[in-house]
């Protein structure tokens, strides 16, 4: 038995909320047209994730990045199965699900940050992010990340950066993806391209609690709750004594 549906029935942020409320332990499998993702949940916490795609089911992202990319999906089918063995899985995601949801919202609002790893090519144009200097000072980078970062102000496309640093293209692309994920650089969207449709910004509250009772409460339902049954002519009037007798009988079954 499992919890099944589509992201149109229930968003991923809603699912995370349900996992926390449970708290649930198990494996969430999401399947979109071209990709397949797996999110591991232990005691309500998202502890690991992997995203694969393409004909050879190549791994495209893992951990936080995989979850964030799945949060950008508008539609996919999902199945959540209870699996206590996930409790023994070592946690590889350090951020909580609320942070992941917020990061997903941020990516959705900023197309440059939503550029998936496999979409970066040698022709991708890059620029430094307009971060305050205080934000950069706290970031720890490895040598190759520094080498590429230092080139970006002078050479804007990945091909030129490869040539300048002498790094192989695949390693350069991987490192560029890491810098994008950190937020130090961003992809330049060519102005000739039509702008990507933006989803209106949502507050965190909107994402976690996407359905309010008021939104779904029909006037009839509300009236039924307040007024109760009324006195329908066709409905038999059953006295309290008979109701008690029925309840006693059912209790005794």
């Amino acid at each position: 038995m499992a919890l099944e549906g589509t992201l149109q029935d229930m968003s991923l942020s809603d699912l995370f909320q349900v996992f926390r409320m449970g708290p649930k332990t198990g494996v969430l499998i999401l399947v979109s047209t071209a990709e397949r993702g797996v999110i591991y949940v232990a005691d309500g916490k998202v502890v690991d994730a992997v995203l694969a795609g393409g004909p050879d089911r190549r791994v495209q992202a893992t951990q936080e990045e995989a979850v964030i990319q799945m949060l950008l999906w508008d539609n996919a089918s999902f199945v959540f199965r209870h699996d206590p063995s996930v409790m023994s899985r070592p946690p590889r995601i350090t951020h909580d699900s609320e942070w992941l949801v917020m990061e997903g919202v941020r990516r959705r609002d900023d197309p440059a940050r939503a550029m998936p790893y496999h979409s970066i090519t040698l022709d991708t144009m890059l620029q430094l992010s307009s971060l305050p200097s205080s934000a950069e000072s706290g970031v720890s980078l490895d040598v190759n990340q520094w080498r590429i970062l230092s080139q970006i102000s002078r050479n804007t496309d990945v091909r030129t950066i490869c040539e300048a640093t002498g790094l192989p293209p695949d390693q350069t692309i991987r490192t560029v993806a890491e810098l994008l994920a950190i937020g130090l650089i961003e992809v330049v969207i060519p102005s000739a391209l039509p702008p990507r449709p933006k989803t209106p910004p949502k507050s965190h509250h909107d994402h976690v609690v996407s359905v309010t009772p008021a939104a779904h409460l029909t006037p009839e339902l509300a009236a039924a709750a307040v007024v109760g049954v009324g006195a329908g002519d066709e409905r038999p009037q059953v006295g309290r004594g008979l109701l008690d007798a029925i309840m006693r009988r059912i209790r005794g079954l």
Binding site: L221, R235, V238, L253
Partner: protein, 183 residues
């Protein structure tokens, strides 16, 4: 002999037939037929076209009848007939299929148009570790706090008893409120 009626409704494959089978004194009289649509077949091999029917003998004079409605909306012409003279009804919802919630909301709205009988919601399959919690089911369906939403396992007799008792208590409360209002 007095006959009283409770209707068990809900969207397709919500567990209505199972609930009646679990609690009925008699072997349930069911009019299930093989389903015709592929997407329905994935959920359930047979479907209730007309009705399920079970009984609980209260005493020598009174029998409680349980009627299950056909789940698919294309059979909704049956609902009106089934609700005539019912004490109240149970709206069943599968807690593991959020995709059915919108249909359940439509069904609840339709039933409120058809009958003024009191009702409760039974969140079925609560024994499934992956099931959505009752509080979430209530919120997603937009059920006001005044209407009980009870956990249910349609295959488990004590759980089904709890649902029926919940409905009867709700009926008693509503009757009392009506009496107070008319007084």
């Amino acid at each position: 002999m007095q006959a009283l009626k409770i209707v068990i409704t809900g969207s397709y494959a919500a567990g209505k037939t199972q609930l009646i089978r679990t609690i009925s004194d008699i072997d349930t009289i069911s009019t299930d037929y093989e389903v015709t649509l592929d997407e329905e077949r994935q959920l359930k091999r047979e479907t209730t076209v007309a009705l399920d029917f079970g009984t609980i003998a209260i005493n020598d004079q009174v029998t409680l009848y349980l009627f299950g409605t056909p789940g698919q909306e294309r059979f909704d012409f049956m609902w009106e007939h089934l609700t005539v003279g019912c004490l109240g009804y149970v709206v069943m919802v599968d807690s593991t299929r959020p995709g059915h919630f919108a249909e359940t909301q439509r069904l609840m709205s339709r039933f409120i148009e058809i009958t003024d009988a009191p009702f409760i919601v039974a969140a079925n399959k609560q024994d499934d570790e992956a099931a959505l919690p009752v509080s979430y089911v209530r919120r997603r369906l937009g059920v006001p706090l005044e209407i009980p939403v009870l956990p249910c396992v349609a295959t488990d007799r004590p759980s089904v008893k709890g649902v029926l008792l919940g409905l009867l208590k709700h009926i008693a409360t509503q009757n009392q409120m009506n009496q107070e209002q008319s007084a």
